[in-house]
């Protein structure tokens, strides 16, 4: 039960803080935009500086000026767009049985031909020992929500690959889209064998798409990333080369915090600080017009070192509603025809979906497992257990939640 009396005061304070931050932000964005323009000509200097820097944040690697803008290419009259999205019922030890469910929704939309689309979903139930327990780094542990998520992502990609192979065989021009990032962020700090297994699932899917020459792209709506802004922060740093670990301004700031003498001189502000907090979409919403995309950047994420030819690159695109981030493997970025195809498809999809790629929202609709579906799933499970004379019991905690007494 929420105490709204207490909560309301906290919400009001949050709104006041957000307002203060917002006012300060416009000035920061202005500065970031002017920084971007400043580096238009000597962009190679900035790129070299970035390459030699050591930063504590992710920085975009560019092979052209940060100000590069590409207009929308023409979409092929006939085009097939494929997407898959997953949803799940997580394992819950308070329920009657230890299992989880993954529902993969998938959509194949053929444009320009008037053909009927494919819109469906495939549920898979996992309950066997090898699904429910894993052994990584010599430690056996039960399946977690994160591992279910990893499995779901792999199944989504597998579905896109299978559908793409089918469509390609029929001689179609195909683009595959996924919801969200193609970078497996969750691998950071995970055991080696878990990383290897997960990476292999993703990379084999990407490799098959490369062989089929079907471009795949991850679309991120409302991206919070700041890789490009971080590049500009490197540009603001007077150090040669910039190294966040040896930042003299940060050291001075830390020293000042220790200094209890009020009369002591205030430390100089950190040179890269004035544009900190600005995100790339705030920058590009000023730079791009509807339908345009930025240049292609390489992500500097450590995880991508194991991606080989599938190293993830990204660009920003103005869909007319928002600036979204599009992630693509390097082999798509290096192939002008595939890159143009992804660019035009994303814009066209967002127009059709009135702000968000229609193929992604429809595959989500196919995938989604709602609360009512979850209840029916457990009812079926219970009925089937009872029919087969298997013990079917909720935990006492679960029962107490269902029928709390006074």
């Amino acid at each position: 039960m929420l105490d709204f009396g207490v909560l309301k005061k906290q919400i009001d304070q949050m709104a006041v803080d957000a307002k203060t931050m917002q006012d300060d932000f416009f000035a920061r964005i202005d500065l970031a935009v002017s920084e971007m323009d400043r580096w238009e000509e000597p962009w190679e200097t900035l790129v070299t500086k970035i390459r030699r820097s050591r930063t504590s944040w992710l920085v975009a690697n560019a092979s052209g000026p940060f100000t590069e803008v590409c207009s929308r290419p023409e979409r092929p009259a006939e085009l097939t767009v494929i997407a898959a999205d997953g949803s799940q019922i997580f394992p819950d030890r308070h329920e009657i049985a230890n299992c989880f469910l993954i529902n993969v929704g998938y959509v194949v939309l053929h444009y320009g031909s008037g053909e009927r689309p494919v819109m469906s979903s495939e549920p898979s139930l996992f309950y066997e020992e090898e699904d429910m327990y894993h052994e990584w780094a010599g430690k056996r542990s039960p399946v977690t929500r994160e591992i279910v998520g990893v499995k779901r992502n792999a199944m989504e990609l597998d579905k896109v690959v299978a559908l793409a192979a089918e469509a390609k065989e029929e001689g179609r021009t195909v683009v595959g889209l996924t919801d969200g990032t193609l970078i497996l962020w969750m691998l950071e700090g995970k055991p080696y064998d878990f990383r290897r297994e997960t990476l292999q699932m993703t990379l084999s899917g990407l490799e098959q798409l490369r062989e089929l020459r079907v471009p795949i792209a991850g679309y991120i709506s409302d991206p919070g990333s700041a890789d490009v802004v971080n590049g500009l922060r490197v540009g603001l740093c007077p150090e040669q080369p910039p190294d966040c670990d040896r930042c003299p301004w940060k050291a001075a700031e830390a020293q000042a915090l220790l200094n209890l003498d009020d009369d002591a001189q205030k430390p100089e502000p950190i040179p890269c600080e004035p544009i900190a907090g600005v995100t790339d979409d705030m920058l590009y919403v000023r730079k791009l017009k509807s339908g345009e995309r930025s240049g292609v950047f390489r992500s500097s994420s450590k995880i991508l070192e194991d991606y080989g030819p599938h190293r993830i690159c990204f660009f920003y695109v103005h869909t007319g509603w928002e600036v979204g981030r599009v992630e693509i493997p390097e082999w798509v970025a290096d192939d002008e025809a595939l890159l143009d195809l992804v660019h035009t498809t994303i814009i066209d999809q967002a127009e059709k979906g009135r702000g968000y790629p229609v193929v992604l929202s429809e595959s989500h609709e196919r995938a989604v497992v709602r609360g009512a579906d979850r209840d029916i799933f457990f009812k079926f499970l219970k009925d089937s257990y009872v029919k087969n004379n298997v013990k079917a019991e909720n935990s006492l905690k679960q029962l107490k939640k269902l029928a709390a007494t006074v």
């Binding site: 444009y111 009927r116 819109m119």
Partner: protein, 197 residues
Amino acid sequence: MALAKVDTEAFIGEVIESSTSQFVAESRELNGAPPFGAFIKTSGAIPVYGLVFNVCTHSIEPNRRATAYGLTEQELRNEQPQIFELLKTEFEAVTVGYGDDRGPRQVLPPQPPGIHSFVLPCAESEIKALTNNGDYLRCVLSGNRLPVDDLIIASVRHAWAARAFDMPYLVGIGKDLCRLIRDDYDRLSSIMRRISQ
């Protein structure tokens, strides 16, 4: 109950709601419902005969509404193909009889049609058997929430067409209607006028 053999190629819909006096079917094709006032029957051991009184097309999901795109149907099929998978057509029928070994009977069935039974258009012979007199019109006149007058007009025109627009049949049905709506001359004459238009 043994099911009658159904020509699965010919079915036009499938029953999704059923009661003794009315049933609702989902059309096999989007916008493919039988016309208003058409005679239809359900598959099953006891076929149930009905008269279509309402056709509607809407989103398959209650929380998603159709919105305007400003495109022609062909443009929509080319550029927004998913929307045709998200819409469905349903039609409602008022029950006017059922079939037994002697053919169609103008009486309500002992059991409503089964959910998921197929819906087929009636053959000419069945329409003739159901409409050989004006008795079926009593089901229409006594039905709930029916567009009674228009349903009489449309169904009589279908029955008349099944008889190759035979004039003596129309005169006979006209006499039956006179008996059924004798207390409202204006209404009766409007119905008669519109049938023969």
